[in-house]
Symmetry: C2
Subunit: 166 residues, 2 copies
Protein backbone atom coordinates (compact mmCIF):
# COMPACT_ATOMS: atom_id res chain seq x y z
CA UNK A 1 0.00 0.00 0.00
CA UNK A 2 1.27 3.44 -0.89
CA UNK A 3 -0.10 6.62 0.63
CA UNK A 4 0.34 9.69 -1.51
CA UNK A 5 0.70 12.91 0.41
CA UNK A 6 -1.01 16.03 -0.80
CA UNK A 7 1.52 18.81 -0.94
CA UNK A 8 0.12 22.02 0.53
CA UNK A 9 1.37 25.56 0.02
CA UNK A 10 3.44 26.62 3.02
CA UNK A 11 1.71 29.28 5.14
CA UNK A 12 2.33 30.49 8.68
CA UNK A 13 -1.11 29.32 9.80
CA UNK A 14 -0.84 25.84 8.34
CA UNK A 15 2.68 25.39 9.70
CA UNK A 16 1.97 26.78 13.19
CA UNK A 17 1.68 23.34 14.87
CA UNK A 18 5.19 22.50 13.68
CA UNK A 19 7.17 25.73 13.94
CA UNK A 20 7.83 29.02 12.18
CA UNK A 21 7.79 30.07 8.55
CA UNK A 22 10.74 32.43 8.09
CA UNK A 23 9.53 35.06 5.62
CA UNK A 24 9.15 38.80 5.43
CA UNK A 25 5.40 38.77 4.75
CA UNK A 26 3.53 39.67 7.89
CA UNK A 27 6.65 40.38 9.95
CA UNK A 28 7.23 43.23 12.37
CA UNK A 29 9.28 45.83 10.47
CA UNK A 30 11.81 48.24 11.99
CA UNK A 31 13.41 50.95 9.88
CA UNK A 32 17.07 51.15 10.86
CA UNK A 33 20.50 52.20 9.59
CA UNK A 34 19.58 55.81 8.77
CA UNK A 35 16.62 54.66 6.72
CA UNK A 36 18.61 52.38 4.40
CA UNK A 37 17.53 49.05 5.93
CA UNK A 38 14.30 47.34 6.93
CA UNK A 39 14.65 44.86 9.78
CA UNK A 40 12.03 42.09 9.61
CA UNK A 41 12.28 41.26 13.28
CA UNK A 42 12.39 37.99 15.19
CA UNK A 43 11.05 35.55 12.62
CA UNK A 44 11.67 32.30 14.50
CA UNK A 45 11.79 30.89 17.99
CA UNK A 46 15.35 29.60 18.37
CA UNK A 47 15.35 26.89 21.06
CA UNK A 48 18.56 25.60 22.67
CA UNK A 49 17.50 23.57 25.70
CA UNK A 50 19.53 21.86 28.45
CA UNK A 51 22.73 23.87 28.25
CA UNK A 52 22.84 24.12 24.48
CA UNK A 53 24.05 26.93 22.28
CA UNK A 54 23.21 28.14 18.79
CA UNK A 55 25.06 26.83 15.74
CA UNK A 56 25.12 28.32 12.24
CA UNK A 57 25.77 25.80 9.46
CA UNK A 58 25.23 25.31 5.75
CA UNK A 59 23.44 22.18 4.49
CA UNK A 60 23.95 21.26 0.83
CA UNK A 61 21.17 18.96 -0.32
CA UNK A 62 20.84 16.67 -3.33
CA UNK A 63 17.48 15.63 -4.80
CA UNK A 64 16.11 12.11 -4.26
CA UNK A 65 14.55 9.87 -6.85
CA UNK A 66 10.92 10.66 -7.61
CA UNK A 67 8.47 9.61 -6.32
CA UNK A 68 10.15 10.25 -2.98
CA UNK A 69 9.67 7.47 -0.45
CA UNK A 70 9.23 8.67 3.10
CA UNK A 71 11.13 5.95 4.93
CA UNK A 72 11.95 7.77 8.14
CA UNK A 73 11.15 10.79 10.24
CA UNK A 74 13.34 12.41 12.87
CA UNK A 75 13.12 15.00 15.60
CA UNK A 76 15.43 16.99 17.84
CA UNK A 77 14.22 16.94 21.45
CA UNK A 78 16.68 19.58 22.68
CA UNK A 79 16.41 22.33 20.12
CA UNK A 80 14.82 23.94 17.11
CA UNK A 81 16.29 23.66 13.61
CA UNK A 82 15.85 26.39 11.01
CA UNK A 83 16.42 26.03 7.25
CA UNK A 84 16.62 29.08 5.00
CA UNK A 85 17.36 28.56 1.28
CA UNK A 86 20.44 30.34 -0.08
CA UNK A 87 19.49 29.82 -3.71
CA UNK A 88 16.13 30.78 -5.15
CA UNK A 89 14.41 27.41 -5.55
CA UNK A 90 11.44 25.74 -3.88
CA UNK A 91 11.79 22.64 -1.72
CA UNK A 92 9.60 20.19 0.19
CA UNK A 93 8.85 19.83 3.89
CA UNK A 94 7.24 16.79 5.55
CA UNK A 95 6.30 17.07 9.23
CA UNK A 96 4.24 15.50 11.99
CA UNK A 97 3.25 16.81 15.39
CA UNK A 98 5.39 16.09 18.46
CA UNK A 99 4.67 12.97 20.45
CA UNK A 100 4.79 9.27 19.70
CA UNK A 101 6.36 8.10 16.46
CA UNK A 102 4.08 9.20 13.62
CA UNK A 103 2.03 6.94 11.41
CA UNK A 104 1.95 7.58 7.70
CA UNK A 105 -1.44 9.25 8.00
CA UNK A 106 -0.01 11.74 10.49
CA UNK A 107 2.38 13.21 7.95
CA UNK A 108 1.78 16.65 6.47
CA UNK A 109 3.65 17.81 3.36
CA UNK A 110 4.31 21.37 2.23
CA UNK A 111 5.99 23.01 -0.71
CA UNK A 112 8.13 25.89 0.53
CA UNK A 113 8.82 28.68 -1.93
CA UNK A 114 12.29 30.03 -2.61
CA UNK A 115 11.82 32.98 -0.26
CA UNK A 116 10.52 30.90 2.66
CA UNK A 117 12.49 29.25 5.42
CA UNK A 118 11.17 26.90 8.08
CA UNK A 119 12.07 26.50 11.74
CA UNK A 120 11.09 23.14 13.24
CA UNK A 121 10.42 23.51 16.93
CA UNK A 122 11.98 21.07 19.38
CA UNK A 123 10.28 17.69 19.22
CA UNK A 124 8.54 18.22 15.88
CA UNK A 125 8.92 15.19 13.61
CA UNK A 126 10.31 16.10 10.22
CA UNK A 127 11.80 14.40 7.22
CA UNK A 128 15.45 15.14 6.42
CA UNK A 129 16.04 17.84 3.83
CA UNK A 130 14.07 17.35 0.59
CA UNK A 131 15.40 19.48 -2.23
CA UNK A 132 14.36 19.53 -5.86
CA UNK A 133 17.58 20.71 -7.52
CA UNK A 134 21.22 19.71 -7.22
CA UNK A 135 23.48 21.43 -4.70
CA UNK A 136 20.70 23.36 -3.01
CA UNK A 137 22.27 25.19 -0.07
CA UNK A 138 20.49 26.22 3.12
CA UNK A 139 21.60 28.22 6.08
CA UNK A 140 20.76 26.05 9.08
CA UNK A 141 20.45 27.43 12.62
CA UNK A 142 20.27 24.69 15.23
CA UNK A 143 21.59 23.55 18.60
CA UNK A 144 24.98 22.31 19.75
CA UNK A 145 25.87 21.08 23.20
CA UNK A 146 25.59 18.09 25.52
CA UNK A 147 22.95 15.39 25.25
CA UNK A 148 21.43 13.25 22.51
CA UNK A 149 19.50 15.57 20.20
CA UNK A 150 18.53 13.16 17.42
CA UNK A 151 15.61 10.71 17.48
CA UNK A 152 14.85 8.73 14.34
CA UNK A 153 11.79 6.71 13.44
CA UNK A 154 12.04 4.32 10.52
CA UNK A 155 8.82 3.11 8.94
CA UNK A 156 8.53 -0.67 8.51
CA UNK A 157 7.02 -1.54 5.18
CA UNK A 158 4.83 -4.22 6.72
CA UNK A 159 3.54 -1.97 9.48
CA UNK A 160 3.19 1.48 8.02
CA UNK A 161 2.61 2.33 4.41
CA UNK A 162 5.34 4.24 2.72
CA UNK A 163 4.15 7.68 1.81
CA UNK A 164 5.27 9.07 -1.52
CA UNK A 165 5.27 12.57 -2.85
CA UNK A 166 3.85 12.61 -6.36
Amino acid sequence: MVLSLNIQPLTKDAFAPFGDVIEVDGAEIMNINQGTTQRFHNLADVQTLDGGHTLINVFRGQPRLQPIGICLMEHHPLGSQAFVPLQLAPYLVVVAKPGDAPLAQDLVAFQAEADQGVNYHAGVWHHPLLVLQENHDFLVVDRGGPGDNLVEHWFHEDQSPTATLL
Copy 2:
Protein backbone atom coordinates in the same frame (compact mmCIF):
# COMPACT_ATOMS: atom_id res chain seq x y z
CA MET B 1 40.48 65.66 4.17
CA VAL B 2 39.13 62.44 2.75
CA LEU B 3 40.64 59.06 3.44
CA SER B 4 39.92 56.43 0.82
CA LEU B 5 39.76 52.90 2.11
CA ASN B 6 41.28 50.08 0.16
CA ILE B 7 38.71 47.34 -0.25
CA GLN B 8 40.25 43.93 0.40
CA PRO B 9 38.90 40.53 -0.63
CA LEU B 10 37.16 38.87 2.33
CA THR B 11 39.08 35.88 3.69
CA LYS B 12 38.84 34.00 6.97
CA ASP B 13 42.40 34.98 7.92
CA ALA B 14 42.02 38.67 7.20
CA PHE B 15 38.66 38.81 8.99
CA ALA B 16 39.74 36.78 12.04
CA PRO B 17 40.26 39.83 14.33
CA PHE B 18 36.64 40.84 13.70
CA GLY B 19 34.67 37.60 13.56
CA ASP B 20 33.79 34.70 11.28
CA VAL B 21 33.42 34.37 7.53
CA ILE B 22 30.41 32.12 6.95
CA GLU B 23 31.31 30.03 3.91
CA VAL B 24 31.62 26.39 2.96
CA ASP B 25 35.26 26.58 1.89
CA GLY B 26 37.47 25.10 4.58
CA ALA B 27 34.60 23.99 6.78
CA GLU B 28 34.25 20.70 8.66
CA ILE B 29 31.97 18.50 6.54
CA MET B 30 29.61 15.83 7.82
CA ASN B 31 27.75 13.55 5.43
CA ILE B 32 24.20 13.12 6.75
CA ASN B 33 20.66 12.31 5.68
CA GLN B 34 21.44 8.95 4.07
CA GLY B 35 24.16 10.50 1.96
CA THR B 36 21.95 13.17 0.39
CA THR B 37 23.24 16.13 2.40
CA GLN B 38 26.56 17.66 3.35
CA ARG B 39 26.57 19.54 6.64
CA PHE B 40 29.20 22.31 6.72
CA HIS B 41 29.36 22.43 10.48
CA ASN B 42 29.49 25.27 13.00
CA LEU B 43 30.56 28.16 10.80
CA ALA B 44 30.17 30.99 13.33
CA ASP B 45 30.49 31.69 17.03
CA VAL B 46 27.00 32.86 18.03
CA GLN B 47 27.32 34.99 21.18
CA THR B 48 24.32 35.92 23.35
CA LEU B 49 25.73 37.34 26.58
CA ASP B 50 24.05 38.46 29.82
CA GLY B 51 20.82 36.48 29.59
CA GLY B 52 20.28 36.98 25.88
CA HIS B 53 18.81 34.62 23.33
CA THR B 54 19.24 34.11 19.59
CA LEU B 55 17.08 35.98 17.08
CA ILE B 56 16.62 35.19 13.39
CA ASN B 57 15.70 38.18 11.23
CA VAL B 58 15.82 39.38 7.65
CA PHE B 59 17.50 42.71 6.84
CA ARG B 60 16.59 44.31 3.49
CA GLY B 61 19.25 46.83 2.50
CA GLN B 62 19.27 49.65 -0.03
CA PRO B 63 22.45 51.01 -1.63
CA ARG B 64 23.91 54.35 -0.58
CA LEU B 65 25.18 57.10 -2.84
CA GLN B 66 28.72 56.53 -4.12
CA PRO B 67 31.28 57.35 -2.92
CA ILE B 68 29.98 56.05 0.39
CA GLY B 69 30.79 58.29 3.33
CA ILE B 70 31.61 56.42 6.51
CA CYS B 71 29.95 58.72 9.03
CA LEU B 72 29.47 56.29 11.89
CA MET B 73 30.46 52.92 13.25
CA GLU B 74 28.56 50.80 15.75
CA HIS B 75 29.05 47.74 17.89
CA HIS B 76 26.98 45.33 19.96
CA PRO B 77 28.60 44.69 23.34
CA LEU B 78 26.25 41.84 24.31
CA GLY B 79 26.22 39.63 21.26
CA SER B 80 27.44 38.66 17.84
CA GLN B 81 25.60 39.58 14.65
CA ALA B 82 25.71 37.40 11.53
CA PHE B 83 24.74 38.49 8.01
CA VAL B 84 24.25 35.92 5.24
CA PRO B 85 23.11 37.14 1.79
CA LEU B 86 19.89 35.61 0.47
CA GLN B 87 20.43 36.85 -3.08
CA LEU B 88 23.60 36.23 -5.03
CA ALA B 89 25.30 39.62 -4.96
CA PRO B 90 28.46 40.97 -3.34
CA TYR B 91 28.38 43.61 -0.60
CA LEU B 92 30.79 45.67 1.48
CA VAL B 93 31.94 45.32 5.08
CA VAL B 94 33.77 47.98 7.11
CA VAL B 95 35.09 47.03 10.54
CA ALA B 96 37.47 48.05 13.30
CA LYS B 97 38.83 46.12 16.25
CA PRO B 98 37.03 46.21 19.62
CA GLY B 99 38.00 48.90 22.07
CA ASP B 100 37.84 52.69 22.08
CA ALA B 101 35.94 54.44 19.32
CA PRO B 102 37.88 53.94 16.09
CA LEU B 103 39.71 56.61 14.15
CA ALA B 104 39.35 56.68 10.40
CA GLN B 105 42.75 55.05 9.98
CA ASP B 106 41.58 52.10 12.10
CA LEU B 107 38.89 51.12 9.59
CA VAL B 108 39.29 48.03 7.42
CA ALA B 109 37.08 47.47 4.36
CA PHE B 110 36.26 44.17 2.67
CA GLN B 111 34.25 43.10 -0.33
CA ALA B 112 32.23 40.01 0.55
CA GLU B 113 31.24 37.74 -2.30
CA ALA B 114 27.70 36.51 -2.84
CA ASP B 115 28.39 33.17 -1.16
CA GLN B 116 30.04 34.66 1.93
CA GLY B 117 28.40 35.74 5.15
CA VAL B 118 30.03 37.55 8.06
CA ASN B 119 29.55 37.21 11.80
CA TYR B 120 30.72 40.22 13.80
CA HIS B 121 31.80 39.17 17.25
CA ALA B 122 30.53 41.07 20.28
CA GLY B 123 32.24 44.44 20.59
CA VAL B 124 33.59 44.58 17.04
CA TRP B 125 33.01 47.99 15.46
CA HIS B 126 31.23 47.73 12.12
CA HIS B 127 29.45 49.96 9.70
CA PRO B 128 25.73 49.36 9.18
CA LEU B 129 24.82 47.18 6.19
CA LEU B 130 26.43 48.32 2.91
CA VAL B 131 24.76 46.75 -0.11
CA LEU B 132 25.40 47.43 -3.77
CA GLN B 133 22.00 46.54 -5.24
CA GLU B 134 18.43 47.42 -4.36
CA ASN B 135 16.44 45.22 -1.99
CA HIS B 136 19.37 43.03 -1.02
CA ASP B 137 18.11 40.65 1.67
CA PHE B 138 20.24 39.05 4.38
CA LEU B 139 19.44 36.50 7.01
CA VAL B 140 20.63 38.06 10.26
CA VAL B 141 21.31 36.03 13.42
CA ASP B 142 21.80 38.22 16.46
CA ARG B 143 20.88 38.68 20.12
CA GLY B 144 17.66 39.64 21.83
CA GLY B 145 17.15 40.17 25.54
CA PRO B 146 17.73 42.66 28.34
CA GLY B 147 20.37 45.38 28.30
CA ASP B 148 21.59 48.03 25.88
CA ASN B 149 23.22 46.22 22.97
CA LEU B 150 23.90 49.13 20.61
CA VAL B 151 26.83 51.55 20.84
CA GLU B 152 27.26 54.11 18.07
CA HIS B 153 30.22 56.32 17.24
CA TRP B 154 29.68 59.23 14.87
CA PHE B 155 32.71 60.79 13.23
CA HIS B 156 32.99 64.55 13.52
CA GLU B 157 34.19 66.07 10.28
CA ASP B 158 36.52 68.47 12.11
CA GLN B 159 38.04 65.74 14.27
CA SER B 160 38.21 62.62 12.16
CA PRO B 161 38.37 62.51 8.40
CA THR B 162 35.45 60.95 6.66
CA ALA B 163 36.47 57.77 4.94
CA THR B 164 34.97 57.03 1.56
CA LEU B 165 34.82 53.87 -0.45
CA LEU B 166 35.77 54.58 -4.04
